[in-house]
Structure formats: structure tokens, C-alpha cells
Symmetry: C2
Subunit: 336 residues, 2 copies
DNA sequence: TTTAATTAGTTTATCGTTTTAGCAAATAAA
DNA sequence: TTTATTTGCTAAAACGATAAACTAATTAAA
């Protein structure tokens, strides 16, 4: 290889490698290198277009300048955007990123965390699955810089950045109430992680806060492992058993899409037969006729807060817990 | 740090670090280490849950076991899926990935390639922008393992994995002809890269091959920098100037979506007023009523071929050029 | 019996940095 | 003038692995 090293630069500049190293790391003051020598060395560096070998540097300093990012699924627009935003900030700050998707597979999540540890990442941002709890406890104990994303474990004192799911569901339910709907159904999926539970809580809280028994709660929870066909069937059953229901609030965007398919197959009208809203925005909700009102996540903000928090932890500034509940923004379209 | 190193294992097992290293790298045969010692060492490794320091290994071997992946935009489902698939295969093969998005920004693409070189990636998969041509030429000359993805430079002898865009456009145009459309418009965007040009070529080839002057060609090319509003306006103008047009073939999915918005705003019917098809699949095309027929890219296959090719190059097996034109699959829905 | 070959390891150099400790010369203080 | 301090720089150790060269003991061949 024609790669130039410190040694080559040192020889060409007629100084020791230590001197070159000091110049590169802007420690010439501390190393008491004269301005003349600094200039000379810099010139030689430029001449050879020298860049330090980061692997050697990592070995010596013990810092990999690598961050691990574990998401649910990068191929999905939400996580893809998160990834892209985090990546950009990380690079700007001199860190590289290694990332992977769990697809909500508990074992895979554990394997990935271990793999990242092995890759000597300096810190981790993780969208955890339930299975991660013990290992996350360990990581916290060992003082590893760690930020949970999208969901967290209420019992654990971890750093996290999540959407304020409760608030989002609460406000959207209020919106439906104000629009005159009396029998609002919340359609969700049973999930062991707290983000889904908080959405349900927000819905229930809205009903409770605003009413004197007028507003009954209708909750349909799909089993976690149910297929799309199962869900359509369950939804059909549910709506037949609850004919009074006049508005549907779907707990995630893919449930919302499923709902739309159902509505269409039954030739029902939105907002005529049902008011329809969903958690999480999606292209389809924007482009459909009518557009679907949603509780949208401020994706860039979530990503920025996460990486900001992690860099803060890595750089060891302060040791307070960072726990951010980011407010969602409601987007009103024509489906209500 | 409580990190155990080769030295610790060696001490505990009562052997030299070389012996441990040989065991770890499965070179005990070549190093003539007795089975008994191998077993003892392995036991100690397991006991300490030792994993070699990959940074030290990289420094010594000169291999970073890192692959660079430069895509157009990971937040978009197509590239996100590509990323995810490549990542999985890479990890399985012991490589880690560092990736980034260009957003089709020429300067950014160049910066990213340089950054990846600095990170000492062993090979690169790149979705190039026009600006990349010179640096790619250099990379080829320096024998860097390199696979272009999604598009390539016809003049350069590079490895690549791309969709057979010509074939896709050709077949879809034929499909429209067979369905009885006589005045098919191809709506595309001017792009300096060859993938868009090949789509246009495929469309023109189909018209030429199948007809004796019966089938005129109608091409609308949006300027590269036009806004969505510009495009809608241009489309409106174009259709008014060409009232005979009875089918619209959009060159990319986001143009297709734009087309659908236009159709909707004008209260036109598909396939009544216009047959409508698009390149690249999209959720919306599946879920709309009617579903839109598309030329779909076999995403997993494209990703697998790319990473397979790169690993092949990195492992230095054979030096023939790898140039894959992957056939698209046409998905027929109700829009024709 | 002597020599050669094989076996089972070890010693040492090295990858390219950073960092600690140290050495002269120059300057300041006593 | 002698001693202490500062200035300007370098030598050498270390990070944790791999790989080439080497040693000593045993076995096989001559």
C-alpha cells in the first residue's frame, strides 16, 4: 500500500513522530512545539494528504468512535428517517455508526447488542424488545452510555427518548369527542412494551376526563401474533357486536391501513359511516381521499434528541438521567 | 476496564499468546498445537467469555472487516430494504457496515466516498451520482473492490448490479399496447444517470418494435429541479396539448403518485379516462382503488446480488467484471 | 549411532498511533 | 555565578492482536 504514516511525515518534515502526532491532535501548545515547526509539519501533512490511521488510533486510545444503533426496522419509513438523521449527526461529530434491525425479534435483539459490544461501540441507542430488559439493566450498571428509543422499561432508570404516546392518544380522542363522536373505539394490538400501553391509557383518560358516563370505552385488542386476515375478521366481529361505534382510532399506522382496507371492502364511507383516525402518519394517509387525521411523530426531533443525548453521555458531561417525552403533533385532515 | 486480552487467557492457560491466537483462528493444525492444549485453551476462553479485540486485529492484519454502503436515501423504502438486506448478509459474513445517504447531492457523495476511504473500508457498494465518475475511475484503477448499484456509467468498466430498466419499460409498454391503448405517454424526469434513460429507451423500443407508425410517442420530461407544483402544471399542459393520450406510464413511483394526485384533482377516472402505470412499486399503489400496475424491482434479489458480488471481490476470487442486469417483475392490478 | 525430519510449541517483530517520561538548551531567579 | 525553571523537542513504551522465525524435544531414516 502507498498509505503514508506518521513515520513518513516525520521523516519528511525532519521531526519525530511525536511532534507530528502533537500537531495533528492540536496539542502543539501543550507539547511546546514552536510555531515554525508546527507550520512545517502542517505543510508536509497537506503535501502528502495524510490522514491518521483511525484503527491504530482506536487501539491506542481505547476509543472506537463508533456508535451502535439498534432499531426495529430500517426499511420502514419511520425508522429509516431516524437512522438517516442520527447518522448525519454522528458523522458530523466524528462518530461512525453501526446499525441493525431487530424486526422485534427478542433473540435477534440480544444477539445484536452483544455483537455491538464486541464491536466496541462507545454507546448505544436501542429500540428494545421485551427480552432486552436484563441486558439493559447490565449495561446501565456497567455505566455504558445508552439511550432507549421509542419505548422504555418503566421500572428501569435508563435514559430514553420517546414520544409522549399518552398525550397523543389523549388529544386525538378529545378531538373526536369535540367533533361530536359519542362511541369511539380504540383498536390496538397487545404489546408488552409500554408505548402501546400508553396509547391505550391516553384514550381511556380522555374518555374519563371529559364525560359523566356518556362515553363508553370500546377497545379491540388484536393478539400479538394474529395475521392480517385474523385482524380483519376480529374487526368485523367487533363492529357488528358494537353497532353504536361511530369512530375508529387505530393504534398504529399499519392497523389504520388495515382498517381502511376493511372499510373499503365493506363499501363504507369515511367520515360518513365512521370517523377514522390513526396513530403515526403514513404516505397513504396523506394521499388518500379523504386524508386521514393522525397523531404524527416529529421524527427529526426524536432522532436529534436521541443522538444528542447519547453524545452527551459519551462525552461524559453530567450524569443526570436524560428522559425525554416528546410531544406529538396532531395532523387534521378530512376523515373526521 | 475488565476486558480480558490474549495475554490473560495465555497466562491462565499456561501457554503463550501465540498459541491462544492460533487456537482462536483455527490454525492449531498449522501451528501444530496438540489437541489437549487446544481443548485447555478453548476452555479458558469460554470461562472468561473472551472475544478478541477486533481493533487490534484490524491493525495487525490490515483488514478492517468493514464495508461501505452509499445509497441515495435510506429513509425511502426501496433503499431502506436494500440496506437492511445487505446489512444482514454482511454481518453474517463477519463484516460490519458503514452506510450513508447522498440524497443525490453530488458533493455529498464525494465527501462520503472519501470518508469511507478514510474509515478504511475494504470495499464499497455505491449508488453513484454523476459527480462520482472521476473518483470511481480512480477506485477502479486502484483495484478497490467496488460495486455500483442501481445505476452505472456506461463508459466505465465497473462492476454493477442494476435493474434491467430497459426491459421493464419495454414490457410494461407492450402490456399497455396489448390492452388496446393507442396513445401511450411516458412521463419522466431528465436525469443524467443511465437508469432513467434506459426506461425511456425501453418505452421507445416497444413502440417501435410493435407498430407500423400507429403508435406515436408522447414523452413528457420534467426538468430535474422542478417542484411538484411545476410538474403538476406541466402535466396539465401536456395532457391538454395531447388530447389523444389514453395511457400514462410514469417513470418513477413518486411521479406516479403525483400523477394520481393530478388525476384526482381533475376528477378523472382510472382506468376509464386514462390507463395508468408506474415504475417502482409503492404501498399506495397496492392499497389504492384501483390498484396501480407497476414495474416492480425485486429488492431482496438486487441487494443479495450486490453484497454477494462485493464479498466475492473482497475475497479476491477471480477478477472478471461482475455486471448484473436484474429482470424486473411486472405486477398487474386494475389500473389498466 | 548419527543425521534428518517432525512435533509442539515459544520468542520476537510488527501494525500506526498516543502518551509518559526525559533530555538539552535557553532563560530566569537567587 | 550557581541553581531553578521554562522551552522545545524526542525516545521509548504501550494498546492487543498476528505472523515469521526460531528452539527443543521427540521420532524416523540412514
Amino acid at each position: 500500500m502507498n498509505k503514508v504514516s506518521l513515520k513518513d511525515i516525520a521523516k519528511d518534515a525532519g521531526v519525530s513522530i511525536t511532534t507530528v502526532s502533537l500537531v495533528i491532535n492540536n496539542k502543539s501548545k501543550k507539547g511546546r512545539i514552536s510555531d515554525a515547526v508546527v507550520e512545517r509539519v502542517k505543510a508536509v501533512i497537506k503535501k502528502h494528504n495524510y490522514q491518521p490511521n483511525i484503527i491504530a488510533r482506536s487501539l491506542r486510545t481505547g476509543k472506537s468512535t463508533t456508535i451502535g444503533l439498534i432499531l426495529e426496522d430500517v426499511s420502514n419509513n419511520f425508522f429509516g428517517t431516524i437512522y438517516k438523521t442520527i447518522e448525519q449527526t454522528a458523522y458530523k461529530s466524528g462518530y461512525k455508526l453501526i446499525s441493525a434491525s431487530t424486526d422485534n425479534d427478542g433473540q435477534r435483539a440480544l444477539d445484536l447488542i452483544e455483537m455491538m459490544e464486541h464491536q466496541q461501540v462507545e454507546g448505544l441507542i436501542i429500540t428494545p424488545t421485551l427480552s432486552c430488559k436484563p441486558i439493559i439493566e447490565q449495561l446501565i450498571k456497567s455505566n455504558k452510555p445508552l439511550v432507549l428509543f421509542d419505548r422504555y422499561f418503566p421500572g428501569l432508570n435508563s435514559n430514553y427518548v420517546v414520544l409522549d404516546n399518552l398525550k397523543g392518544a389523549f388529544e386525538m380522542t378529545n378531538h373526536l369527542i369535540q367533533k361530536g363522536y359519542k362511541n369511539i373505539a380504540f383498536i390496538t394490538i397487545t404489546s408488552p412494551m409500554n408505548q402501546m400501553q400508553n396509547r391505550l391509557k391516553g384514550y381511556k383518560k380522555a374518555l374519563k376526563d371529559f364525560t359523566k358516563k356518556e362515553f363508553p370505552s370500546y377497545v379491540l385488542e388484536f393478539p400479538y401474533e394474529s395475521t392480517n386476515e385474523d385482524k380483519i375478521l376480529l374487526l368485523d366481529q367487533f363492529l357488528k357486536q358494537n353497532p353504536k361505534v361511530d369512530a375508529l382510532f387505530f393504534g398504529t399506522n399499519y392497523l389504520g391501513i388495515l382498517g381502511i382496507e376493511y372499510i373499503r371492502s365493506k363499501k363504507l364511507k369515511v367520515p360518513g359511516d365512521y370517523g377514522l383516525v390513526s396513530f403515526d402518519d403514513h404516505d397513504l394517509f396523506k394521499l388518500m381521499e379523504p386524508g386521514i387525521s393522525v397523531v404524527a411523530q416529529p421524527i427529526q426531533l426524536l432522532a436529534n434528541e436521541s443522538i444528542k443525548a447519547l453524545l452527551h453521555l459519551i462525552q461524559g458531561e453530567g450524569s443526570q438521567l436524560i428522559q425525554k417525552n416528546i410531544s406529538p403533533s396532531l395532523i387534521f385532515r378530512k376523515s373526521v
